[in-house]
Symmetry: C2
Subunit: 258 residues, 2 copies
């Protein structure tokens, strides 16, 4: 199974600590050797890094661990190929533009008998079920809101309904962001934590590395980390319910009815 | 004025030597300090790096100079902001998907009174005339060839006509690639060289660095480098004519009538 990592914050924050633990799952503490990728929003712009080398051997992953890129929305993915060969065009996250915004998407799971009609402008470049699901999702959003991005509650309802529809074909744990909100849908396995004042000490599960967040944050900072499996051993992670979509804005999940 | 660099080859080749000289123009030997970017095709996939730091100070540019990414089509850009503020979403090259392929685009120049109607799916994320021209170009290509990519001669004729139309609004030196061919249009300033057997020694104009290509190539290799200003002092670069579009495939320009 692939692994997903997302971060959503109220102020631009670097993901060095969480990414360091996560990257170890790409070939060291886990068997995800079929490429990896990460996308950082900076304002409306995106920095997008993909590599078909295992994250543990990738010079680009090494750069990201050393170069603290600050972002309010990040999505990362480590791949264990189930559909589509190991190739750069099959590495998540994928990026497309809709309504004059970039959209970033990553998926963990496997979709069966999933062959939606692609009648809109979005076509897969590679041959994964994941990129196909992303193209379909954007096509349907564009069809429902042809004049531009709707208000967040309407967008949330549409993403939730489309995610449910896609999830009928298999496992559809996914993360999606346009740089202002991070949508996370859980089929089988996803959890999150919100780190905020008073910040505590965290110790990575995958590497012997600790950080005292109180020394690198201000009392206003709030950071949500969403991940396939908990990254730390000494913090309390909250599991998603199967079928649940959460929307993270400014470092926290929106209430269910919002 | 911004600077453009393109590479088109018949076998995947690294661009370390040419990029090293080119990156020096981003803040050292020239005044292009408003960001830079580079995109490498690897098969159908793209590695896309952008940074709003000057190329000379960018840790990502440093990585690229050290990590020999091999590619058959590369487009790089160093920005001197004329329209649009210094922001990540305004850094070239831009990437979009059309017909199930990624397209990479970079532009040097300034367009005046250029406000085409955007009725298709491509919308600018940033606020440069360049990204607007790219969206317009893809919109018009999609409208002419709604069923998918046409054969290269038809595509070439369409790109040439659209580039001329855009160039009526100002300077439109640009590079465009889908990973199989590299289109380069010259309004005012562009030159190229084809390096092939027997390979010779080259000496960078912007840094005291030489390379003997015969030691790092095979007799079959052929590499076209296209750039705003010659990168080397001891090689013969060929200027584009104003208004000329050249299409590079397998490391050489196609004949004018092809």
């Amino acid at each position: 199974m692939c692994q997903l990592l997302g971060m959503n914050c109220n102020v631009p924050t670097d993901i060095v600590f969480s990414f360091t633990g996560f990257a170890h799952r790409g070939g060291r503490t886990d068997t995800h050797r079929d490429g990896w990728g990460i996308a950082f929003f900076e304002g409306a712009g995106v920095r997008h890094f993909v590599d078909h080398e295992a994250a543990i051997h990738s010079p680009i992953a090494e750069l990201i661990k050393r170069y603290p890129i600050k972002s309010t929305n990040v999505i990362a993915h480590i791949r264990k190929a189930t559909q589509g060969q190991v190739a750069l065009e099959n590495c998540h996250p994928f990026v497309r533009e809709l309504w004059g915004r970039y959209w970033v998407f990553a998926h963990n799971g496997d979709l069966k008998e999933f062959a939606p009609a692609l009648t809109g402008p979005f076509r897969p470049v590679g041959n994964t079920d994941s990129e196909l699901a992303f193209c379909y999702l954007l096509q349907e959003l564009r069809a429902r809101f042809p004049d531009g991005a709707p208000p967040l509650p309407a967008l949330r309802a549409a993403v939730a309904e489309l995610a449910q529809r896609i999830a009928r074909h298999g496992t559809f744990n996914m993360m999606l962001s346009d740089g202002t909100a991070l949508f996370a849908h859980c089929s089988t396995k996803l959890c999150y934590i919100v780190r905020q004042h008073p910040f505590a000490h965290a110790h990575l599960a995958d590497e012997d590395l600790s950080v005292d967040f109180s020394t690198v944050t201000t009392p206003r900072d709030r950071v949500a980390i969403i991940v396939t499996e908990p990254l730390t051993k000494n913090e309390q992670w909250t599991d998603f319910a199967p079928g649940e979509l959460k929307v993270f804005v400014d470092g926290a999940p929106l209430p269910a009815g919002a």
